[in-house]
């Protein structure tokens, strides 16, 4: 995401205007977007930092408690487990959803009969919402009649059937696999487009030098995909950190808190008081602030890596 230097072509007429008149069209053009953004995103973002310093159930007068919410978070076992779930989910999905689509895209570059059809089929799950994905897999993974167990039995692997989503140690890996199922097509398409931008002469030259197919992939294809790979990794990190829809729809964080990510925990604290507990807006926003800081750190790390590579 390179930022371009501001282009300020001062035409013959504009040069003589006083500066505020020169800026007027630009300001008017940007204003509607900026107003909408500030009103419904920017101001609430600042608000979440503000509320994180209060004890507040969403109504009545917020009570200022300084950093107490953060102190309590540090000792909250549910928060700690949400951090672990979010980290495991983010790191694993990022690794899988970067490497697998890249390899599949490289495989698709060979000439296959019906290659375009197969690619489209793999692409389809990626346009389906994570809510539908989560709800569908919740059904498909159920014992008695769920697709997964029926399919395993059909393959003679009925012994592998188990209550996938009721097992606290299996649930996060299962979510990660479902995430890969859903997103593979999306990242595949990005890589596939990136592959088509590679200069064929690179391959010609290397082949003249006697490079093998594997060497071409290793020394030409993968390095040429660097920009695309950076994009895919960044998207995956952001999506992993804020994961909500898929987990909320598939397990609602359960069993217990075994698959409760930071986003799900935040949401449940604020809105999902199933057991009638009062909403904890201030406390939930403290989690939001922690997520914001994590996003900032991620951004700085990714940027630093990019810059070092380019240098």
């Amino acid at each position: 995401m390179a930022s371009t230097p501001a282009i300020a072509p001062a035409g013959p007429r504009t040069a003589r205007r006083p500066s505020w008149r020169r800026f007027l069209p630009g300001i008017l053009f940007v204003l509607p977007a900026v107003i909408l953004f500030v009103a419904f995103v920017g101001y609430p973002l600042v608000g979440s930092v503000y509320y994180s310093l209060f004890r507040w159930a969403g109504y009545g007068v917020p009570q200022f408690i300084g950093l107490d919410n953060f102190v309590n978070l540090a000792q909250d076992p549910d928060f700690q487990s949400a951090v672990v779930v979010t980290l495991v989910y983010t790191v694993t999905t990022t690794a899988l959803q970067t490497i697998v689509p890249m390899l599949v895209a490289i495989l698709f570059m060979r000439r296959w009969r019906a290659g375009a059809l197969l690619r489209t089929l793999v692409f389809i799950p990626s346009v389906i919402s994570l809510t539908i994905t989560g709800l569908l897999w919740q059904l498909a993974l159920q014992p008695d009649g769920g697709l997964v167990d029926v399919a395993l039995q059909g393959l003679g692997l009925g012994g592998l059937a188990r209550p996938w989503l009721a097992d606290g140690t299996l649930v996060v890996p299962v979510l990660i696999v479902v995430s890969l199922w859903q997103s593979l097509g999306f990242f595949l398409v990005i890589y596939y487009a990136g592959l088509q931008g590679i200069d064929p002469e690179l391959y010609e030259a290397a082949r003249v030098d006697g490079a093998s197919g594997l060497a071409l992939t290793r020394y030409i294809t993968i390095p040429s995909l660097r920009a695309v790979t950076t994009l895919v990794i960044s998207l995956n990190l952001i999506n992993g950190l804020k994961v909500f829809d898929l987990i909320y729809a598939m397990t609602a964080g359960g069993p217990g808190t075994a698959s409760q990510s930071l986003g799900v925990y935040l949401y449940k604290l604020a809105f999902g008081s199933e057991n009638g507990a009062s909403a904890a807006f201030g406390y939930a926003d403290a989690i939001g602030v922690v997520m914001m800081l994590a996003a900032a750190v991620l951004f700085l790390v990714v940027n630093a890596v990019r810059r070092r590579r380019r240098a």
Binding site: M1, A6, V30, G58, V122, S129, A140
Partner: protein, 286 residues
Amino acid sequence: MSAVASACSARLAGRSIPGRIVGYVFLIALALVSVGPLVWMVLTSLKPASEVFVGSLLPRHPQLDAYLYVFQNLGIGSYFLNSVVVTGITVVGVIVVSSLAGYAFAFLPIPGKRIVFGVLMAALLLPAALFLIPAFVELRTLGLLNTQLGLALVHTGAGVPFAIYLMRSFFEAIPVELRDAARIDGAREFSIFLRVALPLCLPGLATVAIFQVLFTWNDLMLSNGLIQDRSIQTLQPALYTLVGEHASNWPALTAALTIAAAPVVVFFILVQRLFVAGLLAGSVKG
């Protein structure tokens, strides 16, 4: 494209037949795993209730009763329309404000331009969970909580940064001479934008619209948090509630999921090419 493809296939021309068979088996298995659960969803929606848990994949007596049921008894049609309304307002709003802003960020002098743009881009990284609660409080204060307009406004604000980013890169591809020529002819900035620049960026508008449809139609968190009145709820939260309430009525649930998924699948197969072009237009450049 064909150049690379031929380079690759030329390089693999000597590849063994067994190698190609393994490749086909792998790719076909991958395609089956990708669409299998969706096919199962459709097949289950066609089954009578008595056939759901017997473990056969194909319905023995296919019927459409479940579809009638979800329209007549579960009101899926009105949730669907609610989603259309919210998505429609959001897409129009995002297109109007972000094409104007994208044009300005590409061409016009603005004080603090890089900083404003940088702040907008930083917001791309932040999860919706972060501004959900204050947005909830704000909409409540404005009397817009539990309204489709309120939800659409928050979606619009959230969609603006990415849309501006895309539109700016589309506008930057326009030759500067073209714009300057119009300017020398005495055209005002807004008519240059509307008559000269915008018609050249229709693919950009289409890309923004496609992404915004995807974001808004598929969203769960904002839609669930900001509208709690069931009668005006959108599709994704409604599906979530339905699965909770009718947990054992699989034909109805899978019929509802199919109705929600089908239009998006058809739409995206049709616009797949545009979708990729748009994504690459901005993103890979850096």
